[in-house]
């Protein structure tokens, strides 16, 4: 992976690498909430957006240092995640799905309408990335993604992972084992939101401009597609999903427009035929070959 930016020389494809690293972060963040804690969260795009906007506004309007601004943005996203967790504590299944969707839509609308602060649909321009070249940006974001992966992997292998999965499997019997569902859901949502916010910090610098439309609820669906297509509830699954769904539409070059159609179709097919995603497919293949 370290060698990738050298192998890939076109600026365009290097950019795709950066995007891929960001998607990996986003998929990992959603997987923590959806895959490990079993909460149907359709609002992850809100945290991605908050991360992007808070960090950008702090840097551009208030002259903050990028790293401090990012820290604040991650914190803001995390706090917002806790707010959504408050809904998750009281709601299950379909209701939570809709509430989280509502959360994302409200955030999106706030970003559009609070023009004094966010410039609304006009957007914010001339945003500089924290490091000079695309290659450097790739190493930065990918490095962070790797770090987050390792830490999350430890986390889900630890007793905390057991606790989260217990909540996913059966919240009532989890309570009968002393697990406080509310606290741990808050933990999962908060941490997941913070990671999504972290990814958001790098996005505006990468693109150069910042418009609310990049944080439409479609982003939530995209993240969900990556998690589910890759393999929900595993660590490597979201990574695979993010890589595949970032590169696949690009490789089918003439069909660049159909990126979202591919996501929708992939989501449908995976849920129908291989709910465990590509990880499940891989395991099944291994068993057949053994």
């Amino acid at each position: 992976m370290a060698a990738l930016p050298w192998l890939i020389t076109t600026p365009y494809w290097r950019g795709i690498l950066v995007l891929c690293a960001m998607n990996v972060l986003l998929a990992l963040s959603l997987n923590l909430v959806l895959g490990y804690t079993g909460q149907l969260n359709l609002g992850q795009s809100a945290f991605f957006g908050i991360g992007a906007y808070v960090s950008t506004i702090l840097v551009k309007t208030y002259g903050w240092n990028f790293w401090l601004a990012s820290l604040a943005a991650v914190g803001a996203a995390g706090l917002l995640g806790l707010a959504l967790a408050a809904f998750a504590v009281r709601l299950r299944g379909h209701y939570l799905a809709i509430a989280s969707l509502g959360f994302a839509v409200i955030t999106y609308q706030v970003l559009i309408n609070w023009e004094n602060v966010t410039q609304g649909v006009r957007g914010i321009y001339g945003i500089l990335p924290p490091v000079g070249s695309t290659t450097a940006l790739f190493y930065l974001v990918a490095g962070i993604a790797v770090l987050v992966y390792v830490l999350l992997d430890n986390l889900v292998r630890s007793p905390i992972g057991d606790t989260l999965r217990a909540i996913r499997e059966d919240e009532i019997s989890a309570a009968s084992l002393g697990i406080n569902g509310a606290i741990w859901k808050a933990f999962a949502f908060g941490l997941g939101a913070a990671i999504a916010g972290l990814a958001g910090c790098f996005y505006p610098g990468f693109v150069g401009t910042l418009v609310p439309d990049a944080f439409n609820i479609v982003e939530s669906f995209t993240m969900m597609a990556m998690v589910i297509v890759g393999g929900m509830g595993t660590m490597i699954g979201p990574v695979i999903g993010a890589v595949v769904l970032t590169f696949l539409p690009e490789l089918l070059r003439g069909f660049g427009e159909l990126r979202l159609m591919i996501y929708g179709l992939a989501l449908m097919l995976v849920v129908l035929f291989m709910p465990g995603g590509m990880v499940q497919a891989w395991n099944t293949l291994r068993k057949r070959l053994a």
């Binding site: 509430a99 839509v105 309408n113 159609m261 996501y263 849920v271 129908l272």
Partner: protein
């Protein structure tokens, strides 16, 4: 009539007619939930498909090929929209709901999210992002009573939705199929034991619900900005309505639909159209916090 009173009445009228539209959209959603305990996330996209079907039928097919007058063309397009919705319902049932009948209850929701994304972007590829102009012969005519204005289209909407609701009600009350539907909604297993084929009833319900959605599209086309993504903002309101009215509760949905329509009318008047989604969803979240099972539905304690 004082200015303020006229304004209030005007917006109420607007609200009622918008509400009737929304009721038609939300009704299908609640029917599907009632009988299947599933949410069809793509439901509002069926509406958009219906709208496009109606648009092309009216403007290309009926007038140019069949040479029908505008009114006839429009009425034919409503039928086409109904058919398009029904077909979509059939397809989604066969592809998603039937195969996933036994399994994790949230899988169909995720699958229908995929369907929604697929439909929206498929339409984008076919029709492009620019909004379409859909004029029905009724949307151009304005009627005036005193100081209150409304278009003939709105009368049509109210008339058709009232007729649809009445027909649905009669269907559920008096026909065998309708009773079977209610039986399956209440207790699928027992209904099956009594000789009703639940799968058939479910399929039928989905088809009817989707046809309703399609037809709503034909009525809605002339009223809203028609793009491939109209469904995305519509589903928001549909969810709000179904939650406020109570999942599976037909009467609640009707009341909630009208309510949301009225809220929208007044929001547009006083806060501008950009904030509608925001207001509706804030309302939705408030509802979910206070009374997740809807205004009218009853609570059920989980059986441990």
């Amino acid at each position: 009539m004082t200015d303020l009173l006229a304004l209030v009445v005007q917006q109420s009228v607007n609200g009622v007619y918008l509400g009737c539209l929304y009721v038609m959209v939300a009704l299908g959603l609640t029917l599907i939930y009632g009988v299947l305990n599933q949410i069809n996330f793509a439901h509002a996209d069926f509406v958009t498909v219906g709208a496009f079907a109606a648009l092309f039928t009216a403007t290309r097919f009926a007038t140019k090929v069949l040479g029908l007058p505008d009114t006839g063309a429009y009425l034919l397009s409503m039928v086409a929209a109904l058919g398009a919705g029904a077909l979509l319902g059939l397809a989604v049932n066969a592809a998603v709901f039937a195969p996933l009948r036994r399994g994790d209850e949230l899988r169909p929701l995720i699958a229908t999210i995929g369907v929604s994304v697929l439909i929206e972007n498929g339409q984008l590829a076919l029709f492009g992002p620019i909004p379409y102009q859909f004029d029905s012969p009724f949307s151009r005519e304005t009627i005036r009573i005193g100081r209150i204005f409304f278009s003939a289209q709105s009368v049509l909407v109210v008339a058709v939705s009232a007729a649809a609701i009445a027909a649905l009600y009669a269907f559920m009350r008096f026909t065998f199929l309708g009773k079977a539907l209610r039986a399956v909604a209440q207790d699928r297993e027992t209904a099956g034991l009594m000789g009703i084929n639940p799968n058939l009833v479910i399929a039928l319900t989905i088809i009817i619900a989707s046809a309703l959605a399609g037809m709503a599209g034909a009525l809605l086309g002339p009223v809203v900005v028609l793009t491939p993504f109209t469904g995305a903002s519509l589903i928001v309101k549909a969810f709000a309505i179904v939650i406020i009215g109570g999942f599976g509760n037909v009467q609640g949905t009707i009341i909630a639909g009208i309510l949301v329509g009225i809220i929208e009318a007044f929001t547009v008047q006083y806060l501008g159209s950009g904030l509608i989604d925001l207001v509706v969803f804030v309302l939705l979240l408030v509802m979910l916090v206070l009374r997740p099972t809807g205004l009218i539905a009853e609570r059920k304690e989980e059986n441990v």
